[in-house]
């Protein structure tokens, strides 16, 4: 931690002449938090790497096995399927919230009576305790006694098995994920909209541009960086989604909704296969990092804000 503080302090451009010594004065403020971050965040990363090249017995014995845990992964069909399911779940759980979130942001950017209250209600799903809402959705999905099938049949549509059948379970989980996380996309894009200059919009309006044209040729290009940030955040969160899937389907029926995270949980805490789980964690983390890097590079200038 202090090493990275040092390099960062040295290269900090705007501290100018005050330079290295100036930055160093502020170390004591960072050190206590740095130690804790090391203990609960950096140390587990290192320990996971160490574990991934060992075999861990329930008795506590460990054997060095080299890359054996990693080599098991490409031959583990259950793991490969979990990767496919994770990607399927992620693509849908990014596309829907981002599309809806942008639309919602455009709505909430306009002034209307009770806007504050409407916005607060809109963000309640993302603040609510995931386990609690997952349980309520599970009750709503129940094929016989659930309210959703009643609503479907009462408007003449066929009932669905929702999370209780293997071919509908992932779209069902995406529905809940969309319900819960569209607000986060909305907030990020709304922040972007609030920072836009008003002149181009005035000019377009005077020139007689339609609302749709203004949205397509002005709003979207101007808030594009925010949309990208929201997409990256959404992608990361969807890749590591756990609570909703765990409570609603538990990875089932069978293993039909078992994502990497769910399989990882099973491997570590149901089969107690710690070394293999650690290797899986490392690969999972690399997948997340790669996906977020690919998305980040599509953004022109990188800015930590």
């Amino acid at each position: 931690m202090s090493a990275s503080t040092r390099t960062a302090g040295a290269r900090a451009p705007s501290t100018g002449l005050r330079g290295r010594n100036y930055a160093r004065k502020y170390w004591p403020f960072v050190v206590p938090a740095g130690l804790v971050v090391f203990a609960v965040i950096v140390f587990p990363w290192l320990f996971t790497l160490y574990m991934s090249v060992h075999e861990w017995k329930v008795s506590g014995e460990t054997n060095f096995v080299g890359l054996a845990n990693y080599l098991r992964l490409p031959n583990d069909e259950r793991f490969l399927w979990s990767v496919v399911r994770t990607l399927y779940f992620t693509v849908l759980s990014v596309a829907f919230p981002v599309a809806l979130g942008v639309a919602a942001a455009v709505c909430f950017h306009r002034n209307f009576p009770l806007r504050g209250l409407a916005r607060t209600i809109f963000i309640l799903p993302m603040m609510a305790t995931p386990v609690a809402i997952a349980l309520v959705w599970t009750m709503m999905f129940h094929p016989q006694a659930g309210v959703l099938n009643y609503l479907l049949t009462s408007v003449g549509l066929p009932p669905s098995m929702w999370s209780y059948a293997s071919d509908t379970v992932i779209p069902t989980l995406v529905l809940v994920e969309t319900w819960q996380w569209t607000p986060l996309v909305m907030l990020i894009v709304l922040g972007g909209l609030a920072s836009l200059p008003t002149d181009p919009f005035e000019a377009a309006r005077i020139d007689g541009a339609s609302a749709w044209d203004m949205f397509r040729h002005l709003t979207v290009p101007l808030v594009w960086p925010h949309i990208i940030v929201a997409t990256v955040i959404r992608t990361i969160d969807a890749l590591k989604a756990f609570d909703l899937i765990f409570v609603i389907s538990g990875g089932g029926p069978g293993t039909s909704s078992e994502t990497i995270n769910l399989y990882l949980y099973q491997t570590a805490f149901a089969f107690y296969n710690m070394g293999y789980a650690a290797a899986m964690t490392v690969v999972f983390f690399i997948i997340i990092l790669l996906v977020s890097l690919v998305l980040f590079t599509t953004r022109q200038q990188e800015k930590w804000q």
Binding site: T5, I41, I121, L135
Partner: protein
């Protein structure tokens, strides 16, 4: 002219319908949760749903408290969330100040990586570690692992706030002979109080909501509320009324906090897209 007005009227109606369509899924799910928690089992299981409880009953809530150790779980959740939030503020507010002043952007980036990492990857090593040093069975492992969520949130929000503060006052104090510590404690920190409130609320909510750490690390008596609702109540009682009542009780504090502090929460969330776990 008249056609123009009609079009505007339709535009308006369309806009309000859109807002209604956006808000209603959120409202309906929470109202259904409330409805389930206030009805008896016969009404909850009937195929033609009873939307408005008639007459409403509080029996489900009574049952939650009578049949389970709900008060104990509430106590656990309070200790863990307040503990982890308090410690995170103690550590994270000075750290945010230090990072903002030293412009240590790489440290900030490191904290962002913590947000990217899946919660389970902390749990596997920490689980073994806690077993090894014999901490399992107390609330300490939960408070410690919740720091994984709360410290990055606090540091992240505070960096933003301290960077936004004018530095003139502080520099004047330093010129007048105050130490950095005094400048931080007497000048920067009072100015950043709104930021501290934002950081505190967000850290508390995401710690309260956390499920994955508790589900792995908590023992029978150290379960936090989300874990208890999942483990105990959903398995030992299949009936929906008490389950909905328990779910409502768990999430009610968070919903109330969101309604009361919506400005602070929106400010904090837009700043960094923070989310724990």
């Amino acid at each position: 002219m008249k056609g123009h007005q009609v079009r505007r009227l339709f535009g308006r109606i369309g806009f309000f319908l859109a807002v209604f369509a956006l808000v209603s899924p959120a409202i309906l799910v929470f109202l259904w949760m409330l409805s389930l928690s206030l009805k008896n089992e016969v009404d909850n299981m009937s195929f033609v749903p009873v939307f408005i409880p008639n007459p409403p009953t509080l029996n489900n809530f009574v049952e939650v408290f009578e049949k389970n150790d709900f008060l104990n779980y509430t106590y656990n959740s309070i200790i863990v969330s307040f503990g982890a939030t308090g410690l995170a503020l103690l550590l994270g507010v000075p750290a945010g100040f230090g990072i903002a002043k030293a412009k240590a952007h790489r440290v900030a980036a490191l904290i962002m990586i913590a947000r990217v990492t899946p919660g389970l990857s902390y749990l596997i090593p920490l689980f073994l570690l806690f077993q090894w040093i014999g901490l399992t069975g107390s609330l300490a492992p939960l408070v410690i692992t919740h720091l994984v969520i709360t410290v990055p949130i606090v540091v992240w929000v505070m960096i933003g706030f301290f960077e936004g503060l004018p530095s003139e006052l502080e520099e004047a104090a330093l010129v007048d002979g105050a130490s950095i510590w005094q400048a931080f404690y007497h000048i920067a920190m009072p100015l950043a109080r709104p930021g501290i409130v934002v950081a505190m609320i967000l850290a508390f909510i995401f710690s309260w909501n956390n499920f994955i750490f508790g589900v792995v690390l908590a023992g029978r008596s150290t379960r936090t509320l989300p874990v208890a609702v999942y483990n105990v109540i959903s398995f030992e009682q299949v009936s929906w009324g008490p389950l909905a009542a328990a779910a409502l009780l768990v999430t009610a504090p968070v919903l109330l906090l969101t309604l009361l502090m919506q400005k602070e929460i929106v400010a904090g969330l837009t700043a960094g897209g923070v989310k724990g776990g």
